[in-house]
Amino acid sequence: MKLKTKDGGWSPYLAGVLLGILAVISVIATTKLLGKTHYLGASTTFVRAASLVENKIAPDHVASNKYFTETKVKVDWQFMLVFGIFLGALISSIIDKSFKIESVPPTWEEYFGPSIGKRAIGAFAGGIVAMVGARMADGCPSGHGLSGMMQLSASSFVALAMFFGVGVLVAGMFYKRRA
């Protein structure tokens, strides 16, 4: 098995095993240092980001919103984790020279052309639907897909099956050649 890919990346198996080790170290570290076990996750941070943005415009509205008050507006462990993902990806891509300014993903361009506007609309609309779903299901591919599966949570098996199952169906319908 090759440990490196052609473009200088690591084998997904190697990177995945290391992520599994990181997940274990992280639960020990948070339990010992913070007194509470934290699991890797990302989508709650988007709720906090939304409430921080809305707080600038309509603080009273945020204060009276049940979901925001239950989720708590704060820059916490997971918020910094998500920011760290940005930094880690930046550092890694600069070190191995895979950093690349890209305006439209190559696969998207094959189907929908080089228009940034079209990609922006697709990403924005898809983002709204996906995040409503992630909050309803109480997790995303990190919270359910990684952390929930590692704990053998019943809900995560169902959630991950739905993520991929419906993803495969919709991708099959959406990405069709328009020659």
């Binding site: 990346g9 690591w10 198996y13 190697l14 990177a15 995945g16 095993v17 992520l19 599994g20 990181l22 997940a23 339990t31 076990t37 939304a50 049940k66 979901y67 916490d76 462990w77 910094m80 984790l81 760290g84 993902i85 930094l87 880690g88 990806a89 930046l90 550092i91 890694s92 891509s93 950093f99 305006s103 993903p105 696969t107 697709g122 990403a123 898809g126 983002g127 639907v129 996906a130 995040m131 409503v132 779903g133 299901a137 109480d138 591919p141 704990q151 053998l152 949570s153 019943a154 809900s155 169902v158 739905m162 993520f163 991929f164 199952g165 419906v166 169906l169 919709v170 099959g172 959406f174």
Partner: protein
């Protein structure tokens, strides 16, 4: 910054580094998995789960850490999971990878991030409605698979390993 934030940041940097090295931050890899022609993200996720689940279950059994199951709120997980899958297919990123993608220069992922922040705001507005409908339907609580189906976790884990490795062999055979 407090300890909470520092620890999150350090863990996040390592997480982002591995996501980037595994090349799973790309739109093309995410959509490739959903079009069943590039299984990079499945190889990555399953490898992480195989290792992580053994460590986390052992630590939990030893009483060192506490498990934190997400509620098996059946309607919400089914409908929410479906909505996520549909949005994911079109967006081509998930919440964690969208942020990482911007880090490696794929700046168009910002549109996905803005969409997801807007989606979180939409969810917060609709929460009272969901709370009295889909979320109130059938909540089985924070349950683990082993106790739900009455099978020991140390039977489920080896089965999970065997199935995952069989999938890896299939992926490599098909070169996907």
């Amino acid at each position: 910054m407090n300890t909470d934030q520092w620890l999150g940041l350090i863990t996040g940097v390592a997480f982002g580094f591995l996501l980037q090295k595994g090349r799973v931050l790309r739109f093309d890899k995410q959509v490739g998995a959903m079009m069943l022609n590039d299984m990079t993200i499945l190889k990555f996720m399953l490898s992480a789960i195989l290792v992580g689940m053994v460590g986390i279950l052992l630590l939990s059994n030893a009483g060192i850490i506490k498990l934190s199951h997400k509620p098996m709120n059946l309607g919400a997980v089914l409908l929410g999971g479906s909505l996520f899958g549909a949005g994911w297919a079109i967006m081509g990123f998930c919440p964690g990878t969208s942020i990482g993608a911007i880090g490696e220069g794929r700046w168009h992922a910002i549109f996905a991030v803005i969409g997801m922040v807007a989606g979180a705001a939409v969810y917060a507005e609709l929460y009272p409605f969901f709370n009295s409908t889909i979320l109130a339907w059938k909540d089985f609580g924070k349950i683990a698979l082993p106790e739900t189906i009455g099978v020991s976790q140390w039977i489920i884990v080896p089965i999970f390993w065997v199935v995952a490795i069989a999938m890896f062999i299939l992926f490599e055979k098909k070169k996907i």
